[in-house]
Symmetry: C2
Subunit: 305 residues, 2 copies
């Protein structure tokens, strides 16, 4: 089976510290130090890998942390196409205390040179030959070129590969104009990029050029637009857990749906089930496959417009 | 000039994040991410280097962070004798907010194998040939051999090199029994290791075998015992700043004093001035040399016993 190319413009090493209680101003001994490959494109690739869908991660990686991340992905059986860059790959630290509260300390992505961004585009273009789909996920480091998403999506179009983008801010609008197969903002990201009611804002992304739009709305489920059809899937009721990474699992299911050509309502229900299965796991990039199997038969998309 | 061998059994990468306000349970974007070589022996070596006293760092280093730390020391002009180990070198994260409050999240040192500890002792033994002094500073990772300090101090004795230890807990008592030239606990570390009043506890370390003992007492200054003489130096009054690393600067001055054979009260006054000069700087391992020059003439040790 040909591969899904998962581009992660802003990868990270996700670090989790466990402390009894986080007290500002105090000194804490971190127990259970956990380090994982992170970044939304990496998470999508890990979920696809868990589903048996071949994927390759393309990411700019630099410094000792970048080498660690490439090694960790390879150890997990995930192919990675590293674009070597001068800037050290960032870390994101999450401090979890005994009450379950999670405090995030996210390093910003360090800027790349324009030549390094061009090398990212060139690596993606090479990987697109014979690929099944392109996924571009996550934020962009400061200083990334405004036309990065359009360049990546144009490369996919030229290669005849369907492209999915999950991003925010100006990059979301730029992506829409490049005619992707699918955009997957969450409701907050959509509201920040396009003023107006959720459905109107999603329709605006179609008008700009996207073939389909899925808006993830947390406990309100998924809204899926294709042409002039609007579908809705309710979320799994009463779900509690770790929502980080649920959007990435949703994207993984959506890209699999585009690849198989399954009916749109079935794709949406599958995406809602896999997103819910991610909430059951402790870490982003993982899904609870038993939970997925339990949720899937209970979810059905209904046409609402 | 021959070198001071600075052993750091538990090195770290010291990371500082600046956030407007640390709020447990919230997500923060860290600005001004700063990474520095850390660990108390590393700090002592950096202060000696700033004073023009040649020093070499001996440390077990592992993983990408260990390589980073070795490179960063070399870039700073500090020789480093790396003992390669399997465990990744730990990180310590300090979150500083706009109020100046510092919240520490310290990873514990990862355990080394007994063979790796023996390699540390062997590396130190080699570096001691022709060395001016040995400094062993800082905590020990869990699982370190009980006799690590005695083995290092015995190697110094065999090489005819004076040895200084700045450690805590059972390692402090074990070090005393091995007959070091000097021990430098702080008052809390001394109280935790030896019950009783500060002066009585310090005398106990002499009885166990240390030639000299200096107890750092923060705003109460330094207490210095040599044979049956007890001296005291007051702290610089009204000093405020960053006390992290003040003890390491104090150790650097003490070891320089042992090397030059300066009179004991002068060594103590010098150590108090250099410790105060460290409080003026933002980071451990640095001293404000202008502050040092300003403080030194104002400090004098008085004999109190």
């Amino acid at each position: 089976m040909s591969r899904v190319v998962c581009v992660t413009p802003n990868p990270a090493i996700d670090v989790t510290y466990r402390v009894p209680e986080l007290t500002p101003g105090a000194s804490h001994r971190a127990a259970d130090v956990l380090e994982r490959p992170g970044g939304k494109g990496v998470n999508v690739a890990r979920v696809l890998h868990a589903l048996g869908v071949p994927a390759v991660v393309v990411a700019p990686l630099g410094g000792p942390g970048g080498r660690w991340l490439a090694d960790a992905l390879a150890d997990a059986g995930l192919p990675v196409r590293t674009v070597p860059v001068a800037a050290a790959t960032r870390r994101t630290v999450t401090v979890v205390d005994d009450s379950g509260a999670a405090t995030a300390l996210n390093e910003p992505g360090r800027p790349l040179s324009q030549a390094e961004w061009s090398a990212v585009v060139a690596a993606v273009t090479e990987e697109l030959a014979g690929a099944a789909a392109l996924v571009v996920s996550g934020s962009l480091p400061a200083g990334a070129p405004d036309d990065l998403l359009p360049r990546l999506l144009a490369a996919a179009r030229a290669a005849g590969v369907p492209a999915v983008a999950d991003t925010s801010g100006p990059a979301l609008l730029a992506a829409a104009g490049a005619g992707p197969a699918l955009l997957k903002p969450n409701a907050e990201e959509l509201a920040a990029a396009v003023p107006g009611a959720t459905l109107d804002a999603a329709r605006r992304l179609l008008t700009l050029g996207a073939d389909r739009v899925v808006v993830s709305q947390g406990a309100a489920g998924l809204l899926g637009l294709a042409g002039d059809e609007v579908w809705r899937v309710a979320a799994v009721p009463g779900l509690s857990g770790n929502p980080t990474g649920a959007g990435d699992a949703t994207v993984a299911a959506l890209v699999r749906g585009l690849m198989t050509g399954a009916p749109w309502p079935d794709v949406l229900a599958d995406a809602a089930a896999l997103g819910a299965a991610a909430v059951l796991t402790a870490a982003a990039g993982e899904v609870d496959l038993a939970g997925y199997a339990r949720f899937l038969p209970t979810l059905h998309a209904e046409r609402v417009g």
